[in-house]
């Protein structure tokens, strides 16, 4: 009875018929679109306007970034598998996929740390030219978002380990999933416009 009241209190629909938490989160993601849109636009405006190197074609490692892109894409797949497991009450699946998603996110972050370290050693820093400044700010903010997502998903994994994630709680996993997929689609755009369209 208490569980039903608890579930009902968190499932208030909006005038659109959507859960108010999901509606609010979509609004937040809209603001995030504007945030990353401005960073990507800034990168594109200053593209090719650095008088001195290193230039993108000299330093960007496409094979390495392709692997990390694939890893992040697959983490999105694991995220929907985690949500499906929570929705159908599959505790083992929920534990497995809720660990797999942030684990893949951590691999992506490890690739990014390696890439940043290599670039700094090769002379590309925030201050050296316009490419360095716009590149590090854009990909750095994306990496910060991935880090937040990893911590968020690990907290859900701990809840799953304690058997505190039931089908009633599927919405909180779905909202974390919305965030994770958003981070993924931002990377899809960054990979195309920063790495492949040099």
């Amino acid at each position: 009875m208490i569980a039903e009241i608890h579930a009902g209190a968190h499932a208030l629909p909006t005038s659109t018929g959507l859960d108010h938490r999901k509606m609010g989160f979509w609004a937040f993601l809209g603001s995030e679109c504007m945030f990353f849109g401005s960073l990507i636009a800034t990168y594109m405006v200053y593209k090719g306007k650095s008088p001195s190197g290193p230039q993108p074609h000299e330093i960007l490692n496409i094979p390495l970034t392709s692997i990390s892109t694939f890893v992040l894409l697959m983490s999105s797949l694991l995220m929907v598998l985690a949500l499906a497991a929570v929705q159908r009450g599959d505790r083992l699946g929920a534990k497995l996929w809720l660990f797999g998603t942030p684990f893949f996110g951590s691999i992506f972050l490890a690739f990014q740390v390696y890439e940043f370290t290599t670039f700094v050693h090769e002379g590309l820093t925030l201050q050296v030219n316009l490419f360095g400044g716009t590149f590090f700010v854009l990909t750095g903010f994306h990496g910060a978002h991935v880090s937040v997502g990893v911590v968020w998903l690990l907290s859900l994994w701990v809840m799953a380990l304690r058997n505190r994630l039931t089908p009633v709680d599927a919405t909180i996993v779905e909202i974390a999933g919305l965030y994770w997929h958003f981070v993924d689609i931002v990377w899809i755009v960054i990979f195309t416009f920063v790495y492949l369209l040099q």
Partner: protein, 80 residues
């Protein structure tokens, strides 16, 4: 206000198929990047492929296709 009945999400099979398609599109993007003969068409091809990946993630993984359908139905029911 009564809550809208929840709509079923895509099946695991659908998720796996979308994951496979995303992998294939990424592989095509990387291949196109290395094929010098396609350099002239690189930008439009990559933008289309990127938009396809973006749409697949938003429609299937973020369930926007189902969310739009359910909220649209709810609004129509409310306006009657």
């Amino acid at each position: 206000m009564e809550p809208t009945p929840s709509h079923p999400h895509p099946s695991i099979r659908t998720y796996l198929m979308v994951g496979a398609v995303l992998t294939v599109i990424t592989a095509v993007e990387i291949s196109v990047f290395y094929i010098t003969a396609l350099a002239r068409y690189l930008a439009p091809m990559l933008i289309v492929l990127s938009a396809a990946k973006f749409s697949l993630v938003v429609m299937f993984f973020m369930h926007l296709r189902l969310t739009t359908a359910s909220s649209g139905g709810s609004l129509r029911a409310r306006s009657r």
